[in-house]
């Protein structure tokens, strides 16, 4: 694995860290990683990334800090994509932005599903404060 493309990360190692300034994005070449978001000191896994998945694009497009931590679950090999290379190419070929839009569409769809699950759970809880599914999983009618 050491002679292959990209950089290697050990299980548990952070590839990007929430709050850090970033000027590149990443494509996972091998292995899987989880996306962790910390809210009020509580870390929650919000997504999982596998080979071919791209992340960190928000820092390239928005000039902001990383919105979540991405941590290797198993040995991960990831490739860095520089802001400069990406923006130079996108200027020449705007259709390259489609791949980023694809990633974002998938995320928005996942977010929609999660919000719907949470709203459904919240509605069930407020209708029946004693009940609710014990494992916190959405009910059968969840979208």
């Amino acid at each position: 694995m050491s002679d292959l493309l990209g950089r290697n990360y050990q299980p548990g190692e952070d590839i990007v860290t929430e709050g850090e300034v970033g000027d590149c994005m990443y494509v996972i070449q091998q292995g899987s990683a989880e996306v962790i978001r910390t809210e009020d000191g509580v870390a929650t896994v919000v997504d999982t990334m596998v080979a071919g998945d791209l992340f960190g694009e928000m820092a390239i497009l928005e000039h902001t800090v990383r919105s979540s931590t991405v941590r290797a679950v198993d040995p991960v090999r990831a490739l860095t994509i520089d802001r400069k290379t990406f923006l130079r190419r996108i200027q020449e070929d705007p259709s390259l932005a489609l791949s980023i839009l694809d990633v974002m569409c998938r995320r928005v769809r996942n977010l929609d599903t999660t919000i719907a699950h949470l709203k459904h759970q919240l509605a069930e809880l407020s209708a029946n404060p004693e009940g609710g599914s014990p494992d916190g999983s959405p009910g059968e009618n969840a979208p």
Binding site: L4, L5, E92
Partner: protein, 502 residues
Amino acid sequence: MHDTKDASTKPGEQGHEKVEEEAVRILTDPGSWAKHGSGTDEEGPRSETNGDSDNWKLQPGNRVAVIGGGPAGSLFSQFLLKTMAHLDIDIDVEIYEPRDFNFCGPAGCNHCGGVVSESLIQILGTEGVVLPEEVVQRGIDSYVMHMDVGSVRIETPLQEKRIAAVYRGNGPRQSEPASIAGFDHHLISLARSAGAKVRQQMVTEVDLDEGRPRITCADGHRQTYDLLVVASGVNSALLGLIEKSGLEFKAPTAVKSFVAEFKLGAATIERSFGTSMHVFLLDIPRLQFAALIPKGEYLTLVMLGDDVDQELVESFLNAPEVRSCFPGNRPPDNACQCFPRLNLSHVRRPFADRVVFIGDSGVARLYKDGIGSAYRTAKAAANCVALHGISARDFHYHYWPACKKIAIDNLLGRCVFGFCHLLQKLRFARRSVMRMTVIEQRTEGAIPHMSSVLWDVFTGSAPYREVLFRTLHPFFLGRLIWNLLAANAWKSGRRNRELSTP
């Protein structure tokens, strides 16, 4: 003409022998094509049509022929099919490719150094093209520059392997390709998965059939298409035939270069070359650039220059700077060698109504990242065809700008390589470049002025325009002049010597 020895086959693949033989003969020896192939002088309509008409847009059920399944042809097919699927338009794409990229040796190989540039690796990653383990023979993270005044290793700024050393076919002749997959095989498989049909046939004639392109194959198969994409590179006689076909096309000029594979074994390669590409700036007449690229069990030598021949190869391999890189101070006999042609100019009008030339057949980046320019022209042509149309006018407005950009950058590239050539000739200049690079590489936190210029020239990572402008910056020039004085006035050339071979 071309020194490609007999191709080797793998057991069980004899079925393709006839096609393969012919592929090798014609593709690697265009001279022999003249004796066997047939041309046409037939004139066809070449109107500069208004691209607005639906007649000039691909319709459901239309057929597209792609001649050549190298990087340009395969990437074009994949991108076109994906975009048409987005638009919900179902078309047929047929790739004509006589080579079987699963063969070892010249029969299955598109003869090149096999370095996939840093910028292309990143963009392919963004496109969702991940190169699997069996395709990448070695990830490269540094360059070692060799000159008579010393050697210096230039590290990637990121400490990450972002350059891939690949085989274009299934490894050198007589290699045991246990876990090898060629780059071209991978790309054509992706095109196939996107819906392209691959026909293992050689196109021998292109003409027009009532304004539509028609192709004829070596086996007599003849078919008319709605769009013809020529991605046959510069190493076959097809472009010469198209010149005669009345399409107002002039093939790009190409010169002979050299590629060889040395079997050294994985352990020796790891020990002597590591994950660095070794480049040589030597004062040998007619030599522009040479590099040794470590792969799995083999080391690839690439030589570019003014019509490279055996004599030039010998004088390069006998240079002490080259010999010292090999164990025992002597390069072994090579396992496989060829003299492929290298595209050095661009086609003035790489399109006509319903016909477009992409990759090396149209324009290639000068000396570096030819696969990268094949990707760029393939993507631009696919976007033009899917989103705008297939008339000459559409190609002129929506495809030609991408080619022009590469061609203009190549002009500036000539200046960059002019400087490199000067460097090869002037020992005092070599001393100063060596000194400046060594100091930058040794000093933590130093701004890598010279190192980044050399990195971008060797890797082809940045446009030549950017490299040239960086060298014209007063700060760069100031440091260069200072090093010129320091390296020569104090005769510290010998002190600069840093034999940093891994």
